[in-house]
């Protein structure tokens, strides 16, 4: 084989792409297509929330009293911090700073675990207060007992689905840390860090909407 037939390309560049930029663009597009389905996935739940909130307005507002706003607010701040460390991790990957990247990913993972831990504390509170929908559900305001139960259904469905995404995200971050430690990334190829960053920020955005809708509506009542 003549040497002109051999096309040399960096190992991280797949054959079927012209260059690294095109490959990165394809990954980014694919990730956003996935995120569009995720927006619709959560969108269905937000839509259900909208319908029931407009139908049982007063009952829904009465539940805010039983939400732990302090933990909710702390968790919001924790997730925003984790989004910052994730964004900085992508930046470190861009610059090829391996150690900084690993530490920022570990920081993001730990903040994610703090969020899940606090969520667990909240779920336990709901258990103790009999606010878990089902036969043992008990609500202080007898007028709204049935309707408030719908809110708590939505609360567990929405925060539960969100928490599941956080657990998946924690797994993905662990994979990234291992990959980074094994020198799988360099300044010209760090696509997984970038893509999982997009996922992590998306999960943060879901919480940005869940927090006011579940914790703050009807707070003054």
């Amino acid at each position: 084989m003549a040497s002109r037939d051999i096309v040399l390309h960096p190992p991280e560049l797949k054959h079927h792409f012209d260059d690294i930029a095109q490959q990165k663009e394809a990954s980014t597009l694919g990730m956003w297509a996935f995120l569009a389905t995720e927006i619709l996935f959560f969108g269905g739940m937000f839509c259900a929330y909208t319908i029931y909130r407009s139908a049982f307005h007063d009952a829904f507002e009465s539940t805010s009293r039983f939400m732990n706003v302090t933990i909710g607010a702390i968790n919001t701040a924790v997730l925003i911090c984790s989004s910052l460390t994730m964004a900085l991790a992508v930046r470190a990957a861009q610059l090829g700073q391996k150690k900084v990247l690993i530490w920022l990913l570990i920081g993001t993972l730990l903040l994610g675990c703090v969020f899940l831990g606090l969520k667990g504390v909240e779920y336990h509170e709901k258990w103790v207060d009999h606010h878990i929908p089902g036969p043992s559900f008990h609500y202080a305001d007898a007028r709204y007992a049935q309707q408030a139960q719908i809110l708590f259904y939505l609360y567990f469905a929405m925060t539960g689905l969100h928490a599941m995404h956080m657990i998946v995200g924690a797994g993905l971050l662990t994979t990234l840390i291992v990959m980074a430690a094994r020198n799988r990334f360099n300044a010209s190829w760090y696509t997984p860090v970038d893509m999982i960053g997009l996922y992590w920020h998306f999960v943060d955005i879901v919480w940005i909407f869940l927090f006011p809708l579940l914790y703050l509506i009807g707070h003054t009542k």
């Binding site: 690294i20 930029a21 990165k24 663009e25 980014t28 597009l29 956003w32 297509a33 995120l35 569009a36 389905t37 927006i39 619709l40 969108g43 269905g44 937000f46 839509c47 909208t50 319908i51 407009s54 706003v69 607010a73 919001t76 701040a77 925003i80 911090c81 989004s83 910052l84 994730m86 964004a87 900085l88 930046r91 861009q94 610059l95 010209s188 960053g197 997009l198 920020h201 998306f202 943060d204 955005i205 940005i208 909407f209 927090f211 006011p212 809708l213 703050l216 509506i217 009807g218 707070h219 003054t220």
Partner: protein, 100 residues
């Protein structure tokens, strides 16, 4: 598309804005504004989401094709909401005898 490296200052500014907006939304929720409580809370949430998408998710530096995908996701969510809510909210507009 490999985007240029963004200065740390930008990320930290966005972070501080997000924290400040979280504080604002909690503070405003304690003031009685009637239905405006909901409007304010949602406006702040949308601003926060836009900050995250624009800066943290690098849509600011992304190609128009990527932006089209972002808008497509929101567009289909809008269809989901519009069609479902127009059904639920208009059910009692025409006074028909309940058939069940």
């Amino acid at each position: 598309m490999s985007h240029p490296v963004v200065p740390i200052k930008v990320y930290v500014s966005v972070f501080l804005a997000l924290i400040a907006l979280t504080g604002t939304t909690v503070a405003v929720s304690k003031i009685e504004l009637g239905e405006f409580n909901f409007v304010v809370a949602m406006t702040i949430a949308v601003i926060k989401a836009m900050l995250v998408v624009w800066f943290f998710m690098h849509v600011k530096q992304s190609s128009s094709m990527t932006r089209l995908f972002v808008v497509a996701g929101l567009f289909w969510t809008a269809i989901l909401f519009l069609f479902t809510l127009s059904d639920y909210f208009s059910r009692n507009w025409i006074p028909l005898a309940r058939w069940w």
